[in-house]
Structures are given as structure tokens and as C-alpha cells.
């Protein structure tokens, strides 16, 4: 937690009892607070001296239009800010490091409890930790022990504790349909980062594949890989991808990929933005123009791969995000669903690809009792009652 600047009273440390908060990012000058925190078993650090093995991401306050005003995206779909893509990228680039996300509430934050719940869940769902950061109004309310502020604080504490109790989920691997291959840096940084962000907004589940470490397992269970870097791939990567395509995968690539082998697909497969070729059992979709519009790329790629392979479909969710993670032995899975308007819908349905024996829905307040699960072709559909803006659907095969 980032200790609020206005909190000088060491007794406020007691508020943290029973929450999942175990570190304080706090000014060195607040000696008495630090001492009280140490008594309570909390670790005190400064932003410049984080524990070893921790990467701190400058994140965004999650929600529609940044949690303040509502704005529209390129096609009228509400613009959603989320930290999920950034966490997945950071985890792929630095797999041995824990990730903390520092995202401050906007000054014009409305008082939805759901906004803070989302701030916790949007980060914790992806296996990282939100540095709890309170709006000045909430910090003042808590210092005065105002009842509304205390109620909200309990919810934030319960949310952090909830994810603390489910740390095993953080060890699960992302279920993915596509892999995004890039160096995610320099000239490719802007496009690749925004592509990851907008793929998530398009409902696609992806795996981040750093270009310099494409292992033989990197493409396991994927339907497609996306290569949008400005430079052509090195020969070994080209060969790995070719082999993936010949065995039934799909490559979606920018013109920088260079000449694509195989033969032209049937005319109906020719889209306005991509030429499609077949190679072995798979296909290559080569963009006709260098990538400029990451929104269009993200959405085109979903259709090129096909919604048939959607990992998660959500109805009546408004602006949603989901993250699907599977245990190493593939017996357990969890689908985290975020409703970015900051309040949950009254009747959402979630379709999850895969076969499962048991299903339960959890919120940070406890178990959702009234859920209905329907078996479908290659998946299940879960019907949820009115819920908060975050729900975890836990599955066992």
C-alpha cells in the first residue's frame, strides 16, 4: 500500500489488520508510523528501494474512461483502461520477478466501491499486486473513521485478502488462442504494446512471446501467431513459425515478414486488409499495408483466427475483460471476469471453452450461490445473478 501523505497518526496502521496488505511504500520521514508498522509485521519500503525481485509498473486506473468520465472508442465501444496486458508483458519479459502495479485513482473518481474493487482485481487477476492507493477523500474519511469510508475500506481489504487466499491462481498459465511475437521495444514498442491492450479489448486471449526466446513449447495449443514487428524475422524464428503453420497454425504478419510461401487461398478468403495463403495444413495472412491501426489489427486478427475458438464469451457485461488461466496439470482453471463500468450486471452469461466437471463462482465477498451451468459443444455456459464488478469462475476438469 502507498501510505497516504496526509496520514501522520501511527494508529492508522491498525486499519491494515485483516487485509492482504503486507508492504507499505512510505516516506522515510514518518518514523513513528514505520515503527508501528514494523510492530504489526508490515514491511516498509520507499518507492526507490523496492524489495529485490519486484518490478513496479506505472499502471492505469482501470475502468471505462479512466474511472472518471465515460468516453467512446473508435467504433463507439467504450474505451477501457486495464493493466492486464502490461502485467502479462512484464511477466513474459521478466518471468522471475513479482509485479506490483502503481495506479493512482483519478482526481475526479466517483465514489463507487466497485472502482476500488476493480483496481484490486484488474491487477490481481493477472497474478500481480495493486499498490493500494487511496483517493485523498477516502484517506481523509478513514483518518476520521467516517462510516462510509470504513465500509469501503473493508471491501478493499476483503478484496486484497481474497487474492491473498488464492495465490495459487497466480501460478496458473494463461490460456491462449494466439501468440504475439515481438521484441516489444524500440520502434516496435508502441504498436506491440497497443496491440496487446486492444487484443484484450477484442476479447482475444493471447500469449506474449518475446522474439528472442521462442522455445519449442512457445506455440503449444495456439491457433495463430501474430508478427507485426517492423523488421523481418531472423531465420530460426522464420523456420519455427513455418513449421507451426505447416502443422495447422496460422501466421498473421506485417509485410515486413517478407515473401510468404504457400499458395493463394480461395478468393473469398481475401480480405480488405490481408492476403491469405495456404501452407501445409495452415494459413498465412499477410497484411497488405505496414501496421498502423492496432485497433483494426486486433479486431481483424480475431476474425482471421475465428470466433469459433473464443476462450470466453460474455453476454450482458457491458465493457468487460476476462483472463483465463490454467494450472500446470490442466486439471484446474480460473476465469477472471471484470466489468469495467464499476458495477456488475444483473444477468450476465459467460461461455467458457473447455470441459469441466465442477464450476463455482467467487466474488471477493464470498461464493455466488445461485449460478446455473449448462454444458455446450466444447464448452460450458455459466449464468450469473446480480454480481459485483469482479467475479472469478473456478473450474475443475
Amino acid at each position: 500500500m502507498r501510505w497516504p501523505a496526509a496520514w501522520k497518526d501511527p494508529a492508522l496502521v491498525d486499519l491494515l489488520q485483516g487485509t492482504g496488505i503486507d508492504y507499505l511504500i512510505i516516506e522515510p520521514s514518518l518514523d513513528t508510523v514505520r515503527a508501528r508498522a514494523a510492530e504489526k509485521g508490515l514491511h516498509c519500503v520507499s518507492r526507490g528501494q523496492l524489495p529485490s525481485g519486484v518490478s513496479l509498473i506505472d499502471g492505469q486506473w482501470p475502468g471505462v474512461g479512466g474511472g472518471g468520465s465515460i468516453s467512446a472508442g473508435p467504433t463507439g465501444v467504450p474505451w477501457v483502461d486495464s493493466n492486464g496486458w502490461h502485467i502479462l508483458l512484464s511477466a513474459a519479459l521478466h518471468p522471475d520477478r513479482a509485479i506490483w502495479v502503481d495506479a493512482a485513482p483519478p482526481a475526479n473518481l466517483r465514489g463507487f466501491p466497485g472502482a476500488y474493487l476493480l483496481a484490486v482485481a484488474d491487477v490481481a487477476a493477472y497474478g500481480a499486486r495493486w499498490v493500494v492507493n487511496l483517493h485523498s477523500q477516502l484517506a481523509e474519511g478513514l483518518a476520521a473513521r467516517a462510516s462510509a469510508a470504513m465500509d469501503l475500506w473493508k471491501k478493499i481489504g476483503a478484496a486484497t485478502q481474497f487474492f491473498g487466499e488464492h495465490r495459487d491462481w497466480a501460478g496458473f498459465s494463461p490460456a491462449a488462442v494466439v501468440g504475439v511475437i515481438s521484441d516489444f521495444a524500440a520502434a516496435n514498442e508502441n504498436f506491440s504494446h497497443e496491440l496487446l491492450n486492444l487484443l484484450a479489448r477484442a476479447g482475444q486471449h493471447y500469449r506474449v512471446i518475446p522474439k528472442d526466446r521462442v522455445t519449442p513449447q512457445a506455440f503449444d495449443a495456439l491457433r495463430a501467431v501474430i508478427y507485426a514487428d517492423a523488421q523481418p524475422p531472423a531465420a530460426p524464428l522464420r523456420q519455427q513459425v513455418r513449421s507451426f503453420v505447416e502443422n495447422g497454425g496460422m501466421l498473421i504478419a506485417s509485410p515486413s515478414w517478407g515473401e510468404a510461401p504457400g499458395k493463394a487461398a480461395k478468393p473469398d478468403d481475401e480480405g480488405p486488409s490481408f492476403s491469405v495463403r495456404t501452407l501445409g495444413k495452415g494459413r498465412i495472412a499477410l497484411a497488405k499495408q505496414p501496421p498502423e491501426d492496432s485497433y483494426q489489427w486486433a479486431n481483424d486478427s480475431v476474425v482471421l483466427v475465428s470466433h469459433r475458438y473464443d476462450m470466453v464469451r460474455i453476454w450482458n457485461g457491458g465493457a468487460t475483460g476476462s483472463y483465463y488461466a490454467i494450472s500446470a496439470n490442466r486439471k484446474r482453471a480460473v476465469v477472471h471476469v471484470m466489468f469495467y463500468f464499476g458495477f456488475g450486471p444483473d444477468a450476465a452469461s459467460v461461455r467458457i471453452a473447455g470441459r469441466f466437471r465442477t464450476t463455482r463462482a467467487l466474488t471477493t465477498d464470498g461464493r455466488v450461490e445461485k449460478i446455473e451451468t449448462i454444458d455446450q459443444r466444447d464448452g460450458i455456459e455459466v449464468h450469473l445473478p446480480q454480481i459485483p464488478p469482479y467475479v472469478a469462475i473456478e473450474l475443475e476438469a
Partner: protein, 400 residues
């Protein structure tokens, strides 16, 4: 292949339409065409129940072999709104989308009757994605429809699609709002045009049946809120707000409105534009899916008390006005109603406007109803509507 057969036939009747327009309205309505309408009752969408019911209805209409054999059939289905909207947890096809089994049954029977090619058409909300991809998002399996007969394909008609240019479709009687439309080629490149609609009320047009289904013929690359001023956009953005509100013109490449000074009220414009479209692209076979549907509007986004209902009805006819008139009666509404009377409390009647220009009669006395009798099969949308209208408006909920 241009649909010379249907256009010629239609132009012949349109010549008579000129006489209609010269005469008083009651005389025009009195002479508007009347054809049989078949009413089927089926409780479920199970193919074993649905297929024989639809076959029987087609037989009652005189068979579809003469209509479709050796011809290209275009079927406009109704997938209104985003596939992410549901009424509660109900599948979209049980409330506001034409059920895929109804589409598949119609496709199958047309294939069996000798249709040469069948194109299933829709202009899905704000996208140029293939219809197959759109319906996968609704949790449908496109192959269920594609494999129902030989030579079946989907086309998204919300943009240019597979053609090199849009087809200019003229309104033979001159049009209420538009004299002609620029549409996806599929609406011209067919010999037979079928509208498969859902039995629903509509917040702007009173009801949405086989004629209102044709509102979606218009590509949003030209008639959408995101259409450029001059030329069509490559992909559609937004809905058909400009037809509703008349706050801007379609892309200039398409024929403009006849009278930019006409009322800008959607309850005036939408019913008239529907009639213009149905005149420009005549409907040869109208089918209305009322087996399962919803009350309270055309989709879950409408802020009314809505409920999923199971009228167990299927309606088909070769004239869309006749078919919609019988369907309205089955819904408990008077098809002779006009503005001020349910379900047209605040809008003009599309049926009356269509009758006025000679597309078909809405007078039940002149329509031969086959199959179930209206009085026995009626499902009382009108009564539910009356009770709903006397209740407070429900609070906004989160959908989509």
C-alpha cells in the same frame, strides 16, 4: 444474376401503383394485392417438429417449388443489435434473433425444392465481419445453416461485400423518403427474396415483422452514422441514426432524400423508409418466427418491462403486408390501426403506408388464412402491452 423476373413483375404492379396514388386512400387499400397466409403452430424449435410444420405451411401457400426451383434465393434474417445483448440469460434466438433452426429449416426446404443457390443475408451491427463470425458470437454454429442445403452462403450486407459496386435499387412508386437506395449486390443478384423476421413489438415502428426486417438492407457504410459525406466507407461504423433522425444525408454517392424539409421525426421517417425499401426490393416470401420471442420491444436494450414468451407461432405468406397483417392479428393488434392506436401509439403504420402504395392489403377480410385460425392461435401481445404501459418505466440496467 440480376433479378429480372421479380423486377419486371414488380414494375408491372407498380404501374398499377400509379393509379393507386392518384386515387383516394380507401380505394387504393381496397385494391391492394391479397395472397394466402399460412399460420403454423409449433411449440419448440426441434427440427423434427419445425420442419414438417414449415413444409405444411409452404404447401398451404401452394408450394415453393415454382418460386425457388433453379433460382438464386436471398434470405434476409433478423439479427438486430449486438450479439452480446441478451434478455436475462435467454439465448438471443429465443428472444430477438431469428432462430437458426427456422433459418436452417427454410434453407433446407428451399434446397429440397430445387433452389440453385441460397444466400443468407444480414447487416450485422457496426461491422464488416463475416456473418458466420457474427453468429458464432451469438453462440450459433454457422455450419448448421450452411449444411442445410447445397450451395448455401452467408453475406454481410452492411457494406460493399463481395461486389465491386453497390446496386442501385429504385423505388417504383417514387418513394416516401428515398427515391432509390444503394445496396449490397446480394439484394439485386437474386431471383427470389425472402424475409425471415421475428415476431416483436418495436419502439419506433410499433411492430417489427417481415417488412421492418428490411430496414437492415441499408448498408451503414452509406446510411450509417459513421458514413463519410461523399463516398461510402470501407467498413460500417455505428447504426442507422441518419435514417431515424434525418440529421444528415447519406453518403453523396447514393440517391439523396426526396425532401429534406419533410419531418425529421423518426416515427414518421422509419415506417416510410421501410416501405420504400420493401418497394425497391420486393419480398417474395415472408416468414415470421413467433415460436419463442419477447415482448416490450425489438431487443433487450429497450427500456420497457420485457419478458421472454413462447407464442408457438410461425407465419408465412407470399405478400409481406398480408403476412404482417395476419401476424399483427395473431399478436392481438388490429392491423387496420394507425397512428394513435396500439401498437402505433406514437408512429405511423408501416402496413397502412405499404397498402397505400399498393404493395398489399392489411384487411383481414381479404386475406385467406390457412392453417391455425387467428382467434385460436392468438398470443396476446396487445394485452401485455396495455398492462405494461400502465406500469412505471423500469430502471436502467447494464447490458451489452
Amino acid at each position: 444474376m440480376p433479378c429480372a423476373y421479380s423486377r419486371r413483375k414488380w414494375l408491372q404492379s407498380a404501374a398499377a401503383g400509379g393509379a393507386y396514388l392518384a386515387g383516394p386512400r380507401f380505394l387504393r387499400g381496397a385494391d391492394a394485392p391479397a395472397a394466402r397466409v399460412a399460420v403454423g403452430r409449433t411449440k419448440t424449435y426441434a427440427p423434427g417438429e419445425l420442419l414438417p410444420a414449415m413444409q405444411k405451411m409452404f404447401d398451404q401457400l401452394g408450394g415453393i417449388g415454382a418460386l425457388v426451383k433453379g433460382r438464386t434465393v436471398a434470405i434476409k434474417i433478423n439479427l438486430t443489435g449486438s450479439p452480446t445483448y441478451r434478455l436475462g440469460h435467454a439465448p438471443l434466438e429465443d428472444t430477438h434473433y431469428t432462430h437458426p433452426n427456422v433459418i436452417a429449416a427454410a434453407v433446407h426446404l428451399m434446397g429440397a425444392a430445387g433452389a440453385r443457390r441460397i444466400r443468407v443475408l444480414e447487416s450485422p451491427w457496426a461491422t464488416a465481419d463475416p456473418v458466420e463470425e457474427y453468429i458464432l458470437r451469438a453462440n450459433w454454429e454457422p455450419r448448421d445453416i450452411l449444411n442445410a442445403a447445397p450451395n448455401v452462403e452467408f453475406e454481410n450486407t452492411n457494406y460493399l461485400g463481395r461486389a465491386k459496386k453497390y446496386s442501385r435499387m429504385t423505388v417504383p412508386f417514387g418513394g416516401y423518403i428515398f427515391p432509390a437506395f444503394d445496396l449490397n449486390h446480394s439484394y439485386e443478384d437474386c431471383d427470389v427474396f425472402v424475409s425471415i423476421a421475428k415476431m416483436k413489438e418495436h419502439v419506433t415502428a410499433g411492430v417489427t415483422l417481415s417488412m421492418k426486417n428490411c430496414f437492415g438492407l441499408t448498408p451503414c457504410t452509406i446510411y450509417g452514422t459513421g458514413a463519410p459525406a461523399d463516398e461510402p466507407s470501407l467498413i460500417p461504423k455505428g447504426g442507422r441514426g441518419l435514417i431515424h433522425a434525418g440529421d444528415r444525408a447519406p453518403a453523396k454517392s447514393a440517391p439523396p432524400e426526396k425532401d429534406p424539409k419533410s419531418p425529421r421525426d423518426e416515427t414518421y421517417r422509419v415506417p416510410r423508409t421501410i416501405v420504400d425499401l420493401v418497394a425497391a426490393r420486393p419480398v417474395h416470401l415472408a416468414i415470421v418466427d413467433g415460436i419463442k420471442t419477447m415482448t416490450g420491444g425489438e431487443g433487450p436494450w429497450v427500456r420497457e418491462h420485457q419478458q421472454a414468451v413462447s407464442p408457438g407461432l410461425l407465419v408465412a405468406g407470399t405478400n409481406p403486408v398480408n403476412t404482417d397483417a395476419v401476424t399483427m392479428a395473431l399478436m392481438g393488434f388490429d392491423p387496420m390501426a394507425d397512428r394513435g392506436t396500439p401498437p402505433f401509439e406514437r408512429c405511423d403504420s408501416t402496413l397502412r403506408l405499404a397498402e397505400d402504395v399498393g404493395i398489399g392489403t392489411r384487411d383481414l377480410k381479404r386475406i385467406e388464412v390457412m392453417g391455425a385460425a387467428i382467434a385460436e392461435a392468438k398470443f396476446d401481445f396487445a394485452g401485455i402491452r396495455q398492462r405494461r404501459k400502465s406500469a412505471p418505466v423500469p430502471p436502467m440496467t447494464l447490458r451489452g
